[in-house]
Symmetry: C2
Subunit: 131 residues, 2 copies
């Protein structure tokens, strides 16, 4: 389920012109499900939630927002959306694609943080691309 939504979220990102990577480790110990970069270096993160329990146990998702310009939850069609904070971005997806149903606010990263984030993403993606 999570894998299917993650795949659909990646497709949405690609359609929007972003290059997505999976499971980026962050300095705070968390791992971002999907991180994507625009041609201008804008960074989007998407936290995929599979079910109510998955959302309930995670009180720390706001920590992702320190590392990106935009943040979305990514869930399946049947996820109980009323659980999700109303002011965060939302992507509904299945294995074949999806759509942004609520736009994220944009909080631009400062230059130095963006540089650090771009280096982290590039190195992570490079190691993954080597297989």
């Amino acid at each position: 389920m999570t894998a299917a939504v993650t795949r659909g979220v990646c497709r949405v990102m690609i359609e929007m012109g972003y290059a997505p990577v999976l499971e980026l480790s962050l300095p705070n110990g968390r791992r971002a499900d999907v991180t994507a970069i625009s041609p201008k270096g804008e960074i989007v993160m998407v936290e995929v939630k599979s079910c109510r329990a998955d959302f309930d146990v995670d009180s720390k998702w706001p920590e992702y927002k320190e590392y990106c310009d935009r943040f979305y939850f990514g869930v399946a069609e049947d996820f109980p959306r009323d659980l999700l904070p109303e002011d965060e971005g939302l992507i509904i997806a299945d294995a074949f694609g999806g759509a942004v149903v609520r736009e994220s606010e944009t909080a631009s990263l400062a230059g130095a943080r963006r540089k650090t984030a771009l280096i982290r993403i590039a190195r992570h993606a490079a190691f993954r691309s080597l297989g």
Copy 2:
């Protein structure tokens, strides 16, 4: 032959703490054989040359140097090294590893160029990591 040297060059990069990506397309139409990023965002490029003819037909390798902090040629043990410019970095490699036998000069990219390069590398690596 080229694939073996490229693989060895990647191993050298990883041992030096760099994350390598293959075949990065550049805005000038060239494609860098190996591009690697340090944890601080330093960018290295390595141009792999398989034989004399491969080097002779390529007069445009200096163009890589606009996109990296350090530049090396990567060749096999039996490559005729006297062909190569004496003031450029040199890595000798086979399929299993290699060594830097001549250090590259460091020409630091300006901030905006580095940012653009990091975005390009990150996006390229991301798409490759998706397979």
